[in-house]
């Protein structure tokens, strides 16, 4: 319980700093911190393999890619704050956000969910693998198309630009 409290607090602090800091490189580093904490939380929930995958894929590969692009575009500075203009939506968005956050918390706080006894090897590689290749075979196969589409599309996109 104490462990959870510390981890949760850290995760939240990292998340808030990620959004608040004005430097994109710092944002990326805070996000990596957040992802590592989440990976530990995954493991406490019995998802060992996913916890490791989280560190390898997210904190590792994905965030390195992010940092690489930030460095490549030298977008770390405030000068690049030129994304899609959403300014007029800001007050509306915040109001809606606070409202829905309140509703969501109100909906969940009352619940008491105690974990049921998990089957042996719950969350292990073998457990997940068996589920993926039997019951969830079809969704798994679709991801092949999805990755191919992203890969080919990005290569063509960047190649044609030159």
């Amino acid at each position: 319980m104490i462990l959870f409290g510390i981890l949760a607090l850290l995760a939240l602090v990292f998340a808030v700093f990620m959004v608040a800091t004005r430097n994109a490189v710092h944002s990326a580093l805070f996000l990596i911190g957040n992802f590592v904490i989440l990976a530990i939380l995954y493991i406490t929930l019995g998802a060992e393999f996913l916890g490791l995958a989280q560190i390898l894929v997210y904190a590792g590969a994905v965030m390195v890619l992010f940092l690489f692009v930030i460095a490549y575009l030298s977008a770390g500075t405030e000068a690049s704050e030129t994304g899609p203009a959403l300014a007029w939506q800001l007050p509306l968005g915040i109001a809606a956000g606070v409202l829905s956050l309140g509703l969501l918390l109100w909906g969940t706080l009352g619940a008491v969910l105690t974990p049921t006894a998990a089957p042996p090897h719950f969350g292990s590689l073998a457990f997940l693998g068996r589920a993926l290749f039997t019951t969830y075979l079809f969704p798994f196969e679709i991801t092949a198309f999805l990755l191919l589409a992203a890969l080919v599309g990005v290569v063509v996109l960047v190649r044609d630009e030159r």
């Binding site: 990620m18 996000l31 894929v57 049921t116 589920a131 969830y136 990755l147």
Partner: protein, 101 residues
Amino acid sequence: MNTNLTYYLVLGICLFAVGTAGVLVRKNPLVMFMSVELMWNAVNLIFLAFSRYLADAAGQVFVFLVITVAAAEVATGLGIIVVVFRRRRSLDADRLSALKE
């Protein structure tokens, strides 16, 4: 660990809210994109909490799929961002050369 899983849900929702705020408040497309990643990860946490509560595999499989899709999304998104910055730059260069003439 025998924690009440509700705490995980609450943490997930709070992280999701921080991510949402990030998308709405920030203007840098890279930071907006990172905020979206935070939202997706918050959802993963909620999925895993439910999966543990139900002692059911579907939640874990879903998280596996979300991580895969997120990797594809990151490749796509960063590709688009790079291309957009390049086009903006060449647009600025065109304007400059037009001024010189």
